[in-house]
Subunit: 146 residues, 2 copies
């Protein structure tokens, strides 16, 4: 039984982010890969959409320039033949402020011939923004209409 | 071939939210259901964790008191025997301000004997918060360390 592409991809991504070794991940990106991390691109320039291997490698390098992964817990997982989805709780360090950040993301990945063709990531961004600025953003609660 | 529980659940949930008809969804909740929508519970009191059928029905009622679903596009989907994950783009109306809101969520659901035992939802919450307050929350971008 062949190892699922998700595991190779996960190892390659973390190696890229933590060790700045991009060779493994470069070998796993389809030339036409589609990539999106949904969130405020004005706050996190490495969020947003990227198309193609070169653009995705560049954004992974930007992520590596900004964070280190300390640990991650895969809380939910679904594996298909050429697809995977998981919900992951990350413990990171933001390098510019040397500050710990924890966040929860959900991703959907598709592979073809062992290479990533699509990655879509939803992030609990408000929590992330509050941790990044370092203080709570106070807002009135949404009214509970009764 | 039996219809996947996700489709029944999805119809029942939208019927509960838009028509305030809770019977269908009540019949699909396991007594010990675990439920979590990750996000700022001080802004959205119907976010957070709930345990058990009664608590989940109550939070669905709160959601129904606050929003209507206009449309949703299921952008990604994975189905397992008793599980499902999808990424969904919703167009909603916030009822208190009669304001349109669009947001992207990812959910992971588990079923047993056709009943929901677990639901975990990640929301692009920063985007949601900005739309709810009605103006952009300005913040300095995270530095791109080079």
């Amino acid at each position: 039984m062949t190892e699922h592409s998700l595991w190779r991809f996960s190892r390659a991504l973390h190696r890229a982010i933590n060790d700045r070794q991009l060779e493994d991940i470069a070998g796993m990106l389809d030339d036409e890969v589609e990539w999106a991390i949904y969130g405020p691109i004005d706050v996190f320039p490495f969020f947003g959409s990227r198309s193609g291997k070169a653009a995705v490698l560049e954004v992974i390098r930007q992520i590596a320039d900004n964070v280190r992964v300390h640990r991650f817990d895969r809380e939910q997982i679904m594996l298909g033949a050429d697809s995977a989805a998981s919900m992951i709780r990350y413990s990171l360090t933001a390098l510019d402020a040397n500050k710990p950040i924890s966040l929860r993301v959900a991703h959907f990945a598709r592979f073809r011939d062992g290479q990533l063709t699509s990655l879509r990531v939803v992030v609990d961004t408000f929590d992330l923004v509050e941790q990044t600025v370092g203080y709570p953003i106070h807002m009135a609660p949404m009214a509970i209409a009764r």
